[in-house]
């Protein structure tokens, strides 16, 4: 592994959820600790499964990991960081300011931006603090999913410029102004990442085309931020043996083709390839085997008695959905579980059944086939592009609100619109407008990864409270949004997962979060399952057998909502 031999003091693993960042960073941390180095492992994933992987409770302060000498681990939970930040701001005024004033302060500090900033604040503090980081020979970061990470990285450099150029003193920096003193700490954190002598950024991805091009995009964005010491780790490559069954051959061929079509930008990076593991990498002993090469599958990877009746086919779900005439269908789940693919399949099925359908993605990294819409007159395909939404929204505001201002006023407004909040608002409005269409026809949305999705929902909720207070005129689509998301006859939420440990855990967390927001899923789909296939290759058969316990877990926890299964297939199934 080149990221082990060419490693700098700080190693950052980045990539979409489910690509194996946690496994690789934990295994790397153990690798260095076993060599006698003092290692700190930092996790920043809001849906962390670090506890399961390391088989110990990981908290917000560094603590030793049982079973590995020299290794300490900590987890930065963004929600908890935001809570602490709110308390830091409001706490001193309890009993000093009136209760209603405190409540309104708390509400204003509950937005998406506070969470982002508070998490980055923790991250920057850790990087900048000699007291903490100075005690270690090596620091390994298991960062949050790509989009989120990039945002965290992009924010301060954007704000760097913003703070310097904003002279009005009213700057729309939201909660950041509370952290103005931290400005230098943020700057240091960025410099720390940019310093190739000290830090390496490892892009983790799967051997498939979508994952590789996602990594290429991330690579370019990081380079733009001046982060150039990059490596790539391709995780979970499967090599078929001669005489293998057709599933094994097509999976192997698919991996081989994807690697052959690897984007040029990634070819120049030092590359590590990790084979598909025949075991679930949970626990210290298993983690120690991750870089050891694939051990031959043992006899213990036997196929259990197939007493479990498999859930009905995904097609059955499509049939159920097609019985209606309109409404919003959202596929939700962590990145990499196939939300976009399933949303596309649902939209195609509905269109084939004669329904009018609008298929749209809010995931900036999604790969929708926009040519589909041209082939079918009942199908419309679109994407919420954040950059475009911001541009449209800015233009609209400048035209409406800016027209009544003088030149200086317009310049000031334009400057305020450059704030990071504008993107949240612009995307939110586009989302609400799409949901609104569902009253007349079908709207199929593949939402962005969990964290972002929940931010949207959370934003919907707090905006909802805000709506009652504000005198400004609001589009009806926004007033209606949350009640519609909660109405299970209008919005049908499909939770998508894979029959693997981390995705299942994330799906269960997602369902829990939805429940707290008063939203009930319509159905669950286990995607890319090997279970319905007949498999002879021992490594894949072992993987297939591992799926049983995950399916059982989903069936037990999802009831009474129905569960459907979509078999793994080499190329997307058409209708």
């Amino acid at each position: 592994m080149l990221f082990l031999s060419l490693a700098t003091r700080n190693l950052f693993f980045t990539g979409k959820g489910g690509v194996g960042k946690t496994t690789i960073s934990c295994a790397a941390a153990i690798h260095f600790a076993d060599r006698g180095e003092k290692v700190l492992l930092v996790c920043t994933d809001p849906a962390s499964n670090l506890d399961d992987v390391l088989e110990t409770q990981v908290s917000s302060v560094p603590a030793p990991v049982p079973g590995v000498e020299n290794l300490q681990a900590l987890n930065i939970d963004p929600e908890e960081a935001a809570r602490q930040y709110r308390e830091k701001v409001i706490g001193p005024y309890r009993g000093v300011l009136p209760e209603s004033a405190l409540t309104s302060m708390e509400e204003q500090l509950s937005g998406a931006c506070t969470t982002e900033i508070a998490a980055f604040d923790e991250f920057a503090r850790l990087l900048g603090s000699k007291d903490i980081s100075g005690q270690f020979d090596r620091i390994i970061f298991d960062t949050a999913p790509t989009g989120h990470t990039l945002r965290l990285l992009q924010l301060p450099s954007a704000w760097d410029g913003f703070i310097e150029s904003n002279t009005s003193g009213t700057s729309c920096l939201g909660p950041l102004s509370g952290l103005d003193a931290q400005h230098q700490v943020y700057k240091n954190a960025i410099h720390f990442l940019q310093d190739g002598e000290a830090s390496t950024l490892v892009l983790v991805c799967r051997p498939d085309e979508a994952s590789l091009s996602e990594a290429a995009r991330t690579s370019a964005e990081l380079a733009e931020l001046g982060i150039n010491n990059q490596q790539i780790a391709i995780n979970g490559i499967f090599y078929a043996e001669p005489g293998d069954d057709s599933t094994a051959r097509s999976l192997s061929a698919q991996h081989k083709n994807a690697l052959a079509a690897c984007p040029d930008a990634l070819r120049q990076l030092p590359r590590s390839e990790l084979p598909l593991l025949p075991f679930a990498p949970l626990g210290i002993d298993r983690l120690r085997q991750v870089f050891a090469g694939t051990p031959a599958p043992t006899a213990s990877a036997q196929t259990p008695a197939k007493s479990l009746a498999l859930p009905p086919d995904f097609q059955e779900l499509c049939k159920n959905l097609a019985a209606g005439n309109s409404g919003v269908i959202m596929t939700m789940g962590k990145g990499g579980v196939g939300k976009t693919t399933l949303a596309t399949k649902i939209a195609l099925y509905l269109a084939a059944e004669g329904h009018k359908v609008h298929l749209a993605t809010t995931d900036p990294a999604a790969h929708l086939d926009f040519s589909l819409g041209e082939k079918n007159s009942r199908l419309q395909v679109s994407r919420i592009d954040p950059a475009e939404e911001v541009e449209n929204y800015t233009a609209k505001v400048m035209q409406e609100a800016g027209s009544q201002l003088d030149d200086d006023g317009r310049r000031l407004l334009e400057e305020d619109l450059r704030s990071p909040c504008t993107e949240e608002i612009a995307v939110f409005r586009a989302f609400a407008a799409l949901v609104d269409q569902g009253s007349k026809q079908f709207v199929v949305l593949d939402t962005a990864p969990t964290g972002h999705t929940l931010l949207l929902l959370d934003a919907a909720q707090s905006y909802h409270r805000e709506v009652a207070k504000k005198t400004g005129q609001l589009p009806d689509s926004i007033n209606q949004l949350l009640p519609r998301l909660r109405d299970d006859s209008f919005t049908k939420i499909i939770i998508v997962t894979l029959a693997e440990t981390t995705p299942v855990q994330e799906a269960l967390l997602l369902a829990g979060d939805l429940k707290r927001a008063g939203i009930k899923p319509f159905a669950w789909v286990i995607n890319q399952s090997l279970l319905p296939l007949s498999i002879a290759n021992p490594l894949l058969a072992g993987k297939q057998a591992q799926e049983y316990s995950q399916v059982e877990k989903i069936l037990a926890r999802s009831a009474p909502q129905p569960v459907f299964l979509e078999a793994w297939q080499p190329v997307a199934r058409g209708f």
């Binding site: 409001i90 001193p92 309104s104 204003q108 931006c113 009544q404």
Partner: protein
């Protein structure tokens, strides 16, 4: 007059561009304050969600809030005295409060 201080309710920010819709009143007010500044008036703006310390440190503001919670906001002080409550004055009123005349 030396300075104008504005104590505003808890807001994500004071520019008026945050929220699901742009608050035209705040956008205008922000521009008006900028205009005052360009004419040499010292203007300070405090947001309850961001600078609660300023609210506590100002006796008149603290007293007004003790009586009417945050419903009295925004409060405008001219040289430390309350000159407006629960309203965003327009440009000509602001100019008068600051001892200027509009062109």
């Amino acid at each position: 007059m030396d300075r104008l201080e504005i104590f505003e309710p808890a807001m994500c920010c004071s520019s008026g561009v945050c929220g699901t819709n742009v608050d035209q009143r705040l956008v205008q007010f922000t521009a008006d304050l900028d205009w005052l500044k360009s004419r040499g008036v010292k203007v300070e703006r405090y947001n309850l969600a961001q600078q609660p310390d300023k609210f506590v440190q100002s006796e008149p503001v603290k007293n007004a809030m003790a009586l009417a919670d945050d419903k009295c906001l925004p409060i405008i002080l001219a040289d430390g005295r309350i000159v407006a409550q629960n309203t965003y004055p327009d440009r000509s009123t602001l100019a008068r409060l600051a001892g200027l005349t509009t062109e």
